[in-house]
């Protein structure tokens, strides 16, 4: 069953320099229990897409399209309704746990908030839940650590606390934004192991946002590749590595360390001044006249494999 269905989603920021078109017509489904990786270069709109799902974008943003959660459009919900979804049905794990946690509240207080709010637990019971949760994300001495403040935690422990905070209400969908970015390599590996473990048994779906394809490959079933504001390829992890279709995806794979570290020529376009037609055409060696004029649609090229490129038309 489809849990979340994003249809023709657009998110534009109004700034002094003009409209920043961060998300430009994204179509994407997440099935129940599916782990979907959203990958793309820094600045291509991944975080904005994640925030749009929970309606957490700032006031100066126009969001269009539909985000159907269990059939209900999140974008037309009342403020009251969306607050019942946040933290309870869909939770978010943010990039950079240090700045994403309140410096003047204890970790315990912050992790407890979702259960106090949505499951109406009393402070004491909530704290008991928090301690169990911290134990399950392998934070040592949880009874002591709930009383500490975020700055007293190490980077890895903070990320674990963030994960606990996201999972404490057992949401149906968790959006994890770069959960391993900024951590030491060994800590990164530990967090990936932990996420594998906590997600394996729960039926929770996940949207994993990352610029690191290897992290997505470890944790996800399917991968959506984003290029300025669009999904340009969608495939299972296996298909994506074995048989990438889009010239950008191929270039992205070739730029990985174990595949030769060959960077893609050119730079990503500015979101204020996006090229017409296929957004990748200025960097694409196979571009034709048509690519400069028309925007390609997502084309089915295999079982659950889609690509936005005229080569397969």
């Amino acid at each position: 069953m489809t849990l979340l269905s994003i249809q023709n989603l657009k998110a534009h920021f109004h700034t002094e320099d003009g409209a920043v078109r961060a998300v430009n017509g994204v179509d994407m489904d997440i099935e129940e229990g599916e782990k979907l990786g959203l990958i793309g270069e820094t600045g291509c709109g991944k975080t904005v897409l994640g925030l749009a799902i929970l309606r957490l974008l700032s006031e100066n943003t126009t969001v269009e399209g539909r985000i159907l959660y269990k059939g209900q459009d999140i974008l037309t919900m009342s403020d009251h309704e969306i607050r019942k979804i946040r933290g309870k049905e869909i939770a978010m794990i943010f990039q950079n746990p240090l700045s994403s946690m309140n410096p003047v509240l204890t970790v315990g207080t912050q992790v407890a908030e979702p259960v106090e709010l949505h499951q109406h637990l009393k402070k004491k019971d909530a704290m008991q839940r928090v301690i169990e949760m911290l134990k399950s994300v392998k934070i040592p001495l949880p009874q002591e650590r709930v009383k500490e403040y975020p700055h007293e935690f190490s980077g890895g422990m903070r990320q674990r606390a963030m994960i606990a905070m996201g999972l404490i209400c057992m949401p149906s969908l968790i959006i994890a934004d770069e959960p391993t970015t900024g951590l030491d390599v060994t800590i990164q590996a530990q967090i990936i192991e932990l996420m594998k473990e906590v997600l394996r048994d729960s039926g929770t779906s996940m949207l994993l946002i990352t610029h690191d394809l290897t992290v997505a490959a470890e944790l996800c079933d399917h991968i959506a590749v984003m290029y300025p504001g669009e999904i340009i390829e969608y495939a299972s992890v296996r298909d994506l590595f074995k048989d990438p279709k889009h010239p950008y995806t191929r270039g992205f794979l070739d730029s990985l360390p174990d595949r030769g570290l060959k960077p893609i020529a050119g730079i990503s376009p500015s979101l204020i001044d996006l090229p017409a037609g296929c957004k990748f055409h200025p960097r694409c060696s196979l571009a034709t006249e048509r690519c400069r004029k028309e925007r390609p649609e997502l084309i089915k090229v295999g079982i659950k494999h889609y690509v936005r490129c005229f080569l397969y038309d």
Binding site: L51, L54, L56, R83, K84, I85, R86, G87, K88, A91, M92, F94, N96, S99, S100, M101, N102, P103, V104, L105, Q110, E113, P114, L117, H118, Y149, H151, M165
Partner: protein
Amino acid sequence: MKKFIARRLAIAVIVMLGASLLSFLLLYLAPGNPAHAILTAQLGHDPSLEEVAFFMAKHDLNNPFLVQCSQWLYMITHVNLGMSFRTGEPVLVEFIDRFPATFELASASMLIAVLIAIPVGILSALKQNSMLDHISRLVSLLGVSMPNFWLGLLLILFFSLKLGWFPCFGYGTLSHLVLPAITLGTGLAAPLMRLMRASMLEVLRQDYIRTARSKGLSEQVVMWKHGFKNALIPVITHMGMQIGHLLAGAVIVETIFAWPGVGKFLVDAIYARDYPVIQGFVLIIALFFVLSNLAVDILYTYLDPRIRYDVENGK
């Protein structure tokens, strides 16, 4: 923490000694002879040369600078601020007599400032660029740029002379307190409000506010539980530093409204060249300044858990 406080108190002693030595030096170098000034006031006519000489000798004013300095140091280290030239009373007693009036004025002003600045600053931030925001910013800009004495005179003109609602000077009843407290309070409120607004806006931009919203918390909980305490930290610092300025402001406001507090007595002492009073009061005001800053630093550790003074290098 104990070590921190001890170190700060040691610094406080140095600051106070420095401040009083400086004021001593300024007086020594300033033109005007205390004997002449005080005797003229006391006698009602110019004193004779003998009278001046007698006064100078009696108060050790003929001694060389360094001797006078060390006499002063000897005295204050024995908790003795000397006697006022004018009244003949001990300086400490003069201060203690007048302190309640100043304390009353200062607390009322601070209260007015806090009651105006914090709610308006927060509302202004939450409703950024609304009519309320524009008006409150304009008013606070006026408040920041308008000198205290000017506002005080305007208030006297309007509310006291024209409308007759409040007495224009004096001390004793609550209605005497209104105009001076408003004068001093609005002067404090204006910068405080701007700071509260800016600080709240800054906090609302932080990632942890977004995290709080992502849990489904209502806007009220996000503002008060997650925003307010963080936004208050710089505001409290500012208020702590304002305590010193509050005393300086009191000097002016007390003079305008003939408020019988420390500030007015200090101004009178300056006109009269009443050296012991000036030096003693400067010393006590410096003490207040240092202690209030210390109190704010200690309060800090309760507001912001990241600040701990007992950890090595952990500032």
